[in-house]
């Protein structure tokens, strides 16, 4: 295993007759799922695989490459991969039970402190970004939005009391008449849903002839809609995600 750190990728040291193919940017050709190069048994991850990305991506690559290496060593097909462990079950939890603080809401992003430019420019070996101190790092992490809770809507249980629409802190739920085109419907919501990269959830027709529309772009996953729903038409589902890891015990 070769671990490397640096500012850019350079692969001159890999002989070009080994069967490892390189593309026009002189980067190894890597399978996006298995992280295997064109030569069986040689794997790449992190910036060395697909160019500069962040550390979170690099760690995910490491997990996936480890699974491939494990399968490869066991003489199994590296394309036949274990699934991540996903659990989704009905629950009720108040927003104070989130795994992150729900209180530090309006804080703006903390800026990573930098060393004095005079020093860093004079000495190129000096680190520029100093990183957060423990307290700021903790606060910054708490700013994270919640993804513990998913909400699911069941039309025939809905009595159209509007409770979910009233409580939604981001006004992302609307009960309105359906429209022929999605674009018209998007503009008729409580607050128009202009980000078309994100879906809107449109329910079947309800008793009064309206539909429930939820703008997924704005949903915080706070679950207050489910909390205020008298008939459990909104079901709050707690979500667990454990990434697949190398080794037999974790196979699901």
């Amino acid at each position: 295993m070769i671990i490397a750190i640096g500012q850019e990728n350079r692969f001159e040291w890999i002989e070009r007759n080994l069967g490892i193919e390189f593309d026009q940017w002189d980067m190894p050709v890597i399978d996006e799922k298995t992280f295997c190069s064109t030569r069986e048994g040689v794997f790449f991850g992190g910036d060395a695989a697909f160019g500069p990305k962040n550390v979170i991506t690099a760690v995910a690559h490491g997990h996936q490459a480890a699974i491939s290496i494990d399968l490869y060593c066991q003489n199994e097909d590296i394309k036949d991969r274990p699934n991540p462990d996903i659990k989704l079950f009905s629950t009720k939890m108040g927003i104070h039970e989130w795994s992150y603080d729900s209180d530090v809401t309006t804080d703006i992003r903390y800026i990573v402190p930098q060393a004095n430019k005079k020093d860093t420019l004079r000495n190129r070996k000096k680190e520029v970004e100093l990183g957060f101190d423990l307290q700021t790092a903790f606060k910054e992490a708490q700013r994270c939005l919640n993804c513990d809770v998913q909400t699911e809507f069941t039309e025939n249980k809905c009595i159209e009391c509007d409770a979910c629409m009233d409580i939604c802190p981001t006004s992302c739920i609307s009960f309105i008449k359906n429209e022929d085109s999605e674009d018209t419907l998007r503009m008729k919501l409580l607050v128009p849903a202009i980000n078309k990269e994100q879906d809107i959830l449109v329910s079947d027709i309800l008793k009064t002839g309206r539909v429930m529309v939820k703008d997924e772009d704005m949903c915080l996953h706070c679950g207050l809609c489910a909390e205020r729903c008298p008939t459990a038409a909104w079901d709050m589902k707690q979500f667990f995600y454990n990434t697949a890891k190398a080794g037999h015990i974790c196979y699901v």
């Binding site: 009595i159 409770a163 409580i167 006004s171 909390e227 205020r228």
Partner: protein
């Protein structure tokens, strides 16, 4: 369960001319049962005040006791408020109104708070034409004490325990019209498109405005056989007209077919636009609405919409000629104008 509401808001929330968003008119998180009709009424009050561009500190929200009377905690958290003794909201509001006539008075009450313990106060606040909006969140039961029939429960309505109500229910709208209320409307918490313009019109009316809002109690009075359940009200709801509220200064650009549309001009110059108006009724004719209500009852319908309006009425402060200055702004010189003036007053009495 959650006792805080996230402070997050939609970044593109519309702003009113004052620069406030709807969020600035909200209150703390509701502690009523999930799905309570009262929460929809609170939300409608929030929308109405936002759309009317009212400064929150210019509103006084008054209430008595009951589920309904808890709701002022859940809207307009930047407004003034007074939680009065059970059924005594009208007299406290009358007092406040005489003390400072520059505020918008919004009274919130329930069927118990109004039609039982507060009945005496209710009748007199109407008689005096106090300049306020009086909203009754009417669910036909005592939700706070496990859902016993209230005085507005309709005859024959079945409670959750299966018991049929053997007494006649009080029709608060009929009573209010009879007593001389100058703005009477009935609506349903499940129909915000009707309720919001009604609240806006009521808040703009000079004099006593009464809105009876049927607001299902999901916990104790949303069963089959109940005449105040979501399903029953939706099925039997008969709107007299659909209405829009047109604030002052907003120009009307379209022309109307006057057979279908009636415009009612308010005291302050704003307009109520009634569309698809029912032929047997005129909102300014007391007799027509009284007979319309009686007819609808025999057809087992619930009439909703603006029922009656009298724009010529004179509200209490004008009637008894009180000062425009709030009492707490009056200085000693105004309050004690001197012995000469006292002498002239005494002479008038001799």
């Amino acid at each position: 369960m959650s006792y805080i509401k996230p402070k997050f808001a939609h970044p593109r929330l519309p702003k009113n001319p004052l620069g406030y968003t709807r969020k600035d008119y909200e209150g703390s998180i509701s502690t009523l049962c999930a799905g309570c009709g009262h929460d929809s009424i609170s939300a409608s009050i929030v929308d109405a005040c936002f759309e009317l561009n009212i400064e929150p500190h210019k509103v006084a929200k008054m209430s008595g006791i009951g589920c309904s009377s808890k709701t002022p905690a859940y809207f307009l958290s930047n407004s003034h408020g007074f939680n009065a003794v059970h059924g005594r909201m009208p007299s406290v509001t009358t007092g406040a109104n005489l003390g400072n006539r520059s505020m918008v008075y919004l009274g919130v009450s329930g069927d118990g708070d109004t039609a039982s313990i507060g009945m005496g106060q209710f009748t007199h606040v109407i008689r005096r034409n106090v300049n306020m909006t009086y909203i009754v969140m009417n669910n036909g039961c005592y939700g706070l004490t496990k859902g016993q029939d209230s005085a507005t429960a309709d005859y024959g309505s079945v409670s959750k325990s299966g018991h049929k109500n053997t007494f006649e229910g009080i029709d608060l709208c009929l009573l209010a019209i009879e007593l001389g209320a100058t703005f009477v409307a009935q609506s349903f918490s499940g129909d915000k498109s009707q309720l919001i313009p009604i609240i806006k019109a009521a808040l703009s009316h000079s004099g006593f405005s009464f809105i009876n809002v049927i607001s299902p109690c999901v916990t104790f009075n949303n069963n089959q056989g109940s005449t105040k359940s979501y399903d029953y009200v939706r099925e039997h709801n008969e709107a007299l007209s659909t209405l829009d509220f047109v604030p002052i200064k907003e120009e009307i650009t379209t022309t109307y077919d006057h057979k279908e549309i009636k415009l009612v001009e308010m005291h302050d110059g704003s307009l109520i636009r009634l569309n698809k108006i029912s032929p047997e009724w005129d909102p300014e004719d007391k007799l027509s609405i009284i007979s319309a209500i009686h007819k609808s009852k025999s057809r087992e319908e619930i009439l909703t919409g603006l029922l009656y309006i009298d724009n010529e009425s004179i509200e209490l402060n004008e009637l008894i000629n009180t000062t425009n200055t709030p009492l707490n702004k009056l200085v000693e010189k105004q309050l004690c104008p001197g012995s000469e003036i006292l002498e002239s007053i005494n002479n008038d009495l001799r």
